[in-house]
Symmetry: C2
């Protein structure tokens, strides 16, 4: 099947810089961070306000796309699993899902928490959390 | 920012063929469906078993990528909102999120429900639901 082009709609600004030291999931100590949205798609933020819960979709640009099986949570004590049965960043299409709360909206900058993605991670979509 | 290439890891086989007639969300009457996984990434399914809850990421190949504001749920009575504040399929990167239960695993075929994506929709990732 042919592929599709994903275009970043923004990027993460975070105090986290080392993927190996970052939490595995936001609630495991992910800090607050900023999402800096591309001016070209700023209208798509209309209606996003502080207090909103969003799913942030990122592109793990540092991940390996050729790994199909991994030790979950990078722990060799965990038996190998297919990556579709894990949240590993290493996967054929390294898209990350992060549920966050919006703390502030300042123009093209969204303050959110918690977020375990490292500084510079491309953001590819934002969606409201469905209850 | 430069873009990234998403490669489908499978596709949806469903009785739904008309996007306009499909439910907006799986729980709103989405039927059961099959995910047919590409042989090249079959090892990534290791450990996915019936009863598992997965997030299926799809690529809405019929969506418009140039719409930044829409009437939520295609209802003109709903005030226009930025697409990042809606679950509209029309968005810059038309990635769909669908929470499903795995009913059966038959080789490269996963039987799941509920799924509102139409027949032929590319699948780009599978992840376990985190509780």
């Amino acid at each position: 099947m042919t592929g599709f082009e994903v275009t970043p709609i923004g990027r993460v600004e975070s105090s986290l810089t080392d993927p190996a030291a970052a939490p595995k999931q936001g609630p495991e100590g992910g800090p607050d961070a900023w999402l800096v949205i591309e001016p070209a798609v700023l209208d798509a933020l209309d209606g996003v306000r502080p207090g909103a819960r969003l799913v942030v979709l990122t592109w793990f640009h540092l991940a390996r796309r050729d790994l199909l099986r991994v030790h979950p949570r990078d722990d060799p004590a965990n038996p190998m699993q297919g990556v579709f049965n894990t949240r590993s960043a290493d996967r054929p299409n390294p898209i990350g899902l992060h549920e966050v709360e919006v703390l502030a909206v300042e123009g093209e900058r969204l303050h959110v928490r918690p977020l375990e993605a490292v500084d510079g991670t491309p953001v590819v979509d934002l969606k409201p959390v469905l209850d």
